[in-house]
């Protein structure tokens, strides 16, 4: 067991290192902006005095390395700075910029909403895709297998917004079953929140189910040629039991990996879907901030997305090690 802990710790350290380097990349990218934050905040009405004052207020007169560690140190403690839009607003109203909403305060509730959406999606998509994958492996090369193959391939290759608008058209406009706008607010009870986020969750489900289902099918079919499956068949147990009790446990490693990778994909997919459904999540905030060039928010969202992405990839790695004895005892 010692070696497993060591491998996992190694992966964790590697993940942290990646995150650290990614944060440097994001910081450098943001510093490639022409001019600096101060000019960007003030835009057209930048007077030298105002620029100098904001520059000092944000600590832009310090060297980049100091600024990077200030930003990183703040980010680790949950302080992501204050957004430009807020700072700009504060400078117009004459109030103190620091008393405006901070990026962290803006992001926190939206992050919860996005996690809720991802959670609902995963709760629908994972069981459905494993179930369909097992069925497709069981009835491989039948009409059912081919039909699901074509359908999933089509749904994975369509853009998210196409799926979203088709679902809106049929489930919301023509048959008013589900709301097409997910106006979620604090203090909403769970069932209402679930109904409002069901349509975006269904869209995301369509987008991620395909790969998970195809992987489940392929992983199981790969195993079906092995001698122990032959043995199980010769014992005379039903094809369904051969797959569920004999093939599926051994196919778990690739399936877990692909599930984690698809949950990581959800992070990207969530951006477009949140915009379509006006879902108050972090993706929508990200896009809005990109449009108005609100750099601190963009930077923070980017860091959060990257962290979640790295974390999910890391857990895929760790889980596939844990579920595979051959990886647990490397030669």
């Amino acid at each position: 067991m010692g070696s497993v802990t060591r491998i996992i710790l190694q992966r964790l350290a590697l993940g942290l290192l990646t995150l650290f380097i990614v944060s440097i990349v994001i910081f450098i990218a943001v510093n490639l902006l022409p001019g600096d934050f101060a000019e960007a905040i003030l835009g057209q009405g930048a007077t030298p005095e105002a620029v100098a004052s904001i520059r000092e207020g944000l600590g832009l007169d310090k060297p980049p390395i100091t600024r990077y560690f200030d930003w990183l140190g703040g980010a680790i403690q949950g302080d992501l700075g204050s957004s430009f839009a807020q700072a700009n607003f504060a400078s117009f109203t004459g109030s103190d910029a620091a008393s405006g909403t901070t990026v962290a305060e803006q992001i926190a509730p939206r992050f919860k909403n996005t996690l809720f959406l991802a959670g609902v999606t995963a709760a629908i998509a994972v069981p459905v895709s494993i179930f369909l994958g097992v069925l497709a492996a069981l009835y491989r090369n039948s009409i059912f297998d081919r039909a699901t193959n074509i359908l999933t391939l089509s749904s994975i290759s369509s853009p998210d917004f196409f799926l979203a608008y088709v679902l809106i058209l049929f489930l919301s406009v023509l048959n008013p079953l589900l709301p097409s706008l997910s106006n979620i607010y604090d203090g909403m009870d769970f069932s209402e929140r679930l109904v409002k986020s069901l349509l975006p969750a269904l869209t995301l489900t369509l987008a991620v189910t395909a790969q998970m289902m195809r992987m489940t099918r392929a992983a199981i079919i790969n195993l079906l040629a092995s001698p122990y499956i032959e043995m199980a068949r010769l014992k005379g147990i039903s094809p369904m039991r051969v797959i569920v009790t004999h093939a599926l446990p051994n196919a778990l490693a690739p399936i877990i990996t692909v599930i984690a990778l698809n949950l990581a994909y959800l992070i990207t997919g969530v951006v477009v879907v949140e915009v379509v459904f006006v879902y108050p999540g972090i993706g929508q905030l990200f896009v809005d901030s990109v449009k108005i060039r609100d750099i601190p928010v963009v930077q923070a969202c980017c860091l959060i997305f990257a962290a979640a992405y790295i974390l999910l990839n890391l857990s895929a790695d760790v889980l596939s090690i844990l579920s595979n004895p051959r990886l647990r005892h490397p030669k």
């Binding site: 089509s154 369509s158 990109v290």
Partner: protein
């Protein structure tokens, strides 16, 4: 909520029908193997499929839901034309192409047909489009259907947008812009990623280490998120330098996607570099260019070609998503992603003016159709090259 309840009730009912169906089949055919060995799940599947088909007929003929009818008609037209296209390919052409068409499943034929159609549409866009993409007409906001009584205009089949540009023309020019830009971006990504990947594989050592670690870091950031971050910065630069944002977008997406190409090219290249013929070429004293272009590249075409298809889809979808979010291809260039965003509100009028509501779906569907087609081709190529697994 009664709809949900009836769906919930329908399942046990269908299960009962399935049992009866199997039982009746066994009795009527005196236990023919087809019914005798039928698991309950399969019987249930038949019943579900039958119900689905009946429901489709009901929606088509009884409820007459217009969108469903269009979707079904589209499906039938596409299937038939793909079948005819495959038939044509089997009869006309060289021996090689005829053989290719004979081994082709219908989905792949459909893919080839659509890709060809898009290519023709993109190249000859000015011939097909009734007007120019930036031509502004006095009649703004006319509805599709070319019937003046319902707010249409006979001169504009699909109507005009909010500033009076012909939507039909913009849809056709969109093929040229969206597909053309995506194609150029993919080619650039392949050029960068492919050459760096092969270089890393051939030279190895520190170059390989540096490039691979850099690619690892870039790949740790989700592609769309990274693209959006860089686009924020690029938009500031494009204002300052006066270079169109679209150029920046091509460069940014090409670089982000070249990391994925690099991975594949390096992985394929490393396997080829250890071959004896590479050793022989090295002993002959061939240079690096010869090794990469004459020895490695020809042996790596098959996986790279399949990757090109997939990569094109990713790039195409990323560009469409960026445009949809408003930071991709910039107006006045006609582009499908932007069109979907601009027309999206019309979807709420589906009850009153189905044609208008179909506009955003049409633009989004144009994107979906091409990616589905390319994916069908790639799927077929991969299956062909992987041989006949079970």
């Amino acid at each position: 909520m009664s709809t949900w309840l009836s769906i919930l009730i329908a399942f046990p009912v269908m299960a009962g029908v399935a049992w009866v169906f199997r039982f009746a089949g066994r009795s009527a055919t005196s236990n023919k193997p087809f019914f005798r060995d039928m698991p309950f799940g399969v019987a249930f599947g038949y019943v579900v499929a039958a119900v689905a088909i009946l429901l489709a007929f009901k929606i088509y003929f009884v409820d007459q839901v217009l969108f469903f009818r269009w979707a079904m008609q589209g499906l039938i037209i596409f299937t038939v034309s793909a079948f005819l296209f495959r038939l044509l390919g089997r009869l006309v052409g060289t021996a090689g192409s005829r053989k290719l068409f004979r081994s082709m499943p219908l989905t792949a034929a459909f893919g080839v047909m659509i890709v060809l159609a898009y290519a023709i549409l993109a190249i000859f866009a000015p011939v097909f489009a009734p007007y120019g993409e930036e031509q502004v007409f006095a009649a703004a906001n006319t509805l599709p259907g070319s019937d003046p009584a319902t707010g249409g205009d006979p001169a504009h089949l699909l109507g005009t947008d909010q500033i009076g540009r012909d939507l039909m023309s913009r849809l056709i020019y969109g093929a040229r812009n969206t597909v053309g830009i995506a194609f150029a971006t993919t080619c650039l990504a392949f050029f960068i990623g492919g050459s760096l990947g092969f270089l890393a594989a051939t030279i190895g050592g520190w170059l390989d280490q540096v490039l691979s670690r850099a690619v690892d870091v870039l790949m740790a950031i989700p592609a769309l998120i990274f693209a959006l971050l860089l686009m924020t910065i690029a938009s500031a630069w494009s204002v300052k330098l006066g270079i169109p944002l679209t150029i920046f977008m091509i460069l940014i997406i090409a670089i982000i996607d070249s990391t994925r190409v690099y991975r594949l090219a390096r992985a394929v290249g490393v396997n080829i570099v250890v071959m004896d013929y590479i050793e022989a070429a090295k002993l002959r004293g061939e240079g690096l260019t010869y090794l990469i272009f004459r020895e490695i590249l020809p042996n790596a075409t098959a996986p790279l070609l399949a990757e090109f298809g997939l990569r094109f889809c990713f790039v195409f979808l990323t560009i469409a998503s960026l445009s949809f979010l408003g930071v991709g291809i910039q107006p006045p260039l006609a582009d499908w992603g932007t069109m979907v965003r601009d027309l999206a509100q019309f979807i709420n009028f589906a009850q009153f003016s189905p044609l208008t509501a179909a506009l955003p779906i049409l633009a989004a569907g144009a994107i979906a159709l091409l990616t589905v087609a390319v994916n069908f081709i790639v799927d077929w190529m991969l299956q062909k090259s992987s041989g006949l697994k079970e």
